[in-house]
Symmetry: C2
Subunit: 342 residues, 2 copies
DNA sequence: GTTAGCACTCGATGCTGTTGAGTGCTAACA
DNA sequence: TGTTAGCACTCAACAGCATCGAGTGCTAAC
């Protein structure tokens, strides 16, 4: 059996309605819709076919039909018509984003807020991948006896800091001198290239080898770890509880538990980067706890490099086309803000 | 009518049982308990008295009794017997706290995790009040043309950073020189005293007045604002959903909404500081959404100054004495860790 | 003062019948 | 041949009703 024009039309109408109401859709409902000129009986026949083809499920005999994951997949790939955001909305989002802090974490935090407000779903943003950033400045600031704070400023304005121990009796001026050397050698290098630069630096070491060695280690550790907890920001975690899918407290708890594990989130949001928008529907995202969630992700850039991910987690029954519009827009907006320092 | 010894005993038994089971407590249950040598009938008479005195509520005629907020108040003030934490537990908490980052935000974040894990409730920690901190170092780091990052290191190792604009053409070395002057003038001053120090600095200004002026403004803004969103850290938000009090999704949503508003949390956790542990039961904390929550708070110190608050939010039916023990212990542990830099 | 006994209350539970949204099938229609 | 009206059928949701049992308050006896 093939999907003809009418089946597409009906399937689309069913999905649209279900996304709106979360209730199984009956033949009468579809028949009444403008644009569909068939009687309930005809619709029923088509629905029966669609069910056989795996696009619809029936919770029980006397209920309407519910779209299957296969149907959502078809919907996002072919059926869905994209809706533009109004200028008003764009402006509002832009304003909210721009008004906030210039610090990267602040920007990302407010972006997550804007995303979850605009979509009413839960948003997740992964901070820029360190390996795509370039070092602008390295500075060692004395903190205590034998301790210094290392601050790394990158082209995205992102600041990574870590406390390292320094040789006894090192003065602020000496630390500044070391900082200058580090900055000179490392400026405009990607964080990835730090290793080579340091090797060279160590060969003709005028400064204390131990200090440089430890500094190198700290930077490398940061690179490997791929960032700490604060690098994954969640917005509007409670939004998800608005939807009947999560009216069951134990489901809600599981969902919130996923949000608390930043590592899981990072994995969930990882994407192959080839396409602009990636959509994973239900079980496609591997995690049983998110079996009736969809995850839509886009990426943003810092400078020339694709650098981080922003995404929305919502029920599979989510308003895909609005979410996509919002993510595309915010992806660009976020790239602009974060690339401002270049 | 007065509360005699036996009434105390029975009330305590009821509260203990209710905290454990969350089910209305009947006379038989109490009668069976070891330590209470009376028949259900006697207990019933006493319970009737206790209800008349406002210590017990009865959900409906044929149900057991439930402690009122007045009863919890009496319980925490007089009845409760304190339980010591085991050495094992202490060690585990200490380890979890110590293992983590040396950065203040990291310490607080992991402390919040430890607190919520140890109590199974939701924890909230307010970062050190800026006004109690002393400046150790101020450093301006070039970020871009006409822009610098100002890093303030304090005695708690806490780092506040903000981007400020600087006059055109200022070199890294010049910024360093300004940094040195700032550090010299401000070192060991409380952040509060910054204003005076700056005024003096501006009088015999060798450096660009505009730069200093703006720097001052930034520091002051930080002081007034009382910190940004990242200064209130919540641990285990989903823990609360484990309790039958929140089996209703809309209640759960309200609760989570409160946790998202950092300002509200800051207000909720503010305390008069006179006593070591503060307990607010149900409506005592003013917020309708938290009407059946209790908030227990303790404070921690950085150096010599009482500086921040750590607290637990749980159902009024919470295990007060365990929560208190944990908070006392963690308050000390946190003070120790944060005062390490002195 | 304490307790056994007993009638009483009332939410929880489970059973039953009814309702209505929705289906599938068949036969008539264009 | 595709479409539709008609109709019997299904089944979750809901309301009504009886039952059960945990727990109470009261009274009388110990």
């Amino acid at each position: 059996m093939q999907l003809d024009e009418r089946k597409y039309l009906i399937l689309q109408a069913i999905i649209d309605d279900y996304i709106l109401t979360a209730m199984p859709v009956g033949s009468r409902t579809i028949s009444r819709k403008s644009g569909v000129g068939y009687s309930p009986a005809t619709i029923r026949n088509e629905m029966s076919d669609l069910e056989e083809l795996g696009y619809l499920d029936q919770p029980h005999t006397s209920a309407g039909r519910v779209p299957s994951n296969k149907a959502y997949r078809l919907y996002v790939d072919h059926l869905m018509k994209t809706v533009k955001l109004t200028n008003d909305e764009r402006e509002r989002m832009q304003d909210h984003l721009a008004a906030k802090s210039k610090q990267v974490e602040g920007v990302i935090r407010s972006a997550a807020g804007v995303l979850s407000d605009a979509t009413k779903y839960t948003s997740v943003i992964v901070a820029p991948k360190l390996s795509t950033l370039r070092i602008k400045h390295v500075q060692l600031v004395p903190v205590a006896e034998r301790m210094a704070l290392m601050v790394i400023v990158t082209n995205a304005g992102i600041v990574k800091d870590a406390v390292i121990s320094v040789p006894e009796g090192m003065t602020a001026d000496e630390l500044y001198a070391v900082s200058r050397t580090l900055t000179e050698k490392l400026a405009d290098k990607p964080l990835e290239a730090v290793r080579q630069a340091f090797a060279e630096l160590l060969r003709n070491a005028e400064y204390n080898r131990k200090l440089l060695g430890e500094t190198l280690q700290v930077i490398e550790k940061r690179l490997e770890a791929g960032g700490d907890a604060s690098d994954v920001i969640v917005g509007g975690p409670a939004n998800m509880l608005e939807y009947p899918e999560y009216s069951d407290v134990s489901k809600a708890r599981n969902f919130l538990a996923v949000l608390e594990s930043k590592d899981t989130l990072r994995k969930l949001l990882s994407r192959d980067g080839s396409m602009e928008i990636s959509i994973r529907i239900g079980p496609e995202n591997q995690l049983p706890a998110l079996n009736d969630c969809s995850i839509v992700t886009a990426s943003y850039r810092v400078g020339d490099h694709s650098s981080g991910t922003l995404g929305i987690i919502g029920p599979t029954r989510m308003n895909y086309n609005r979410v996509i519009s919002v993510l595309e827009f915010m992806g660009r907006a976020l790239s602009d803000v974060l690339s401002e320092y270049r």
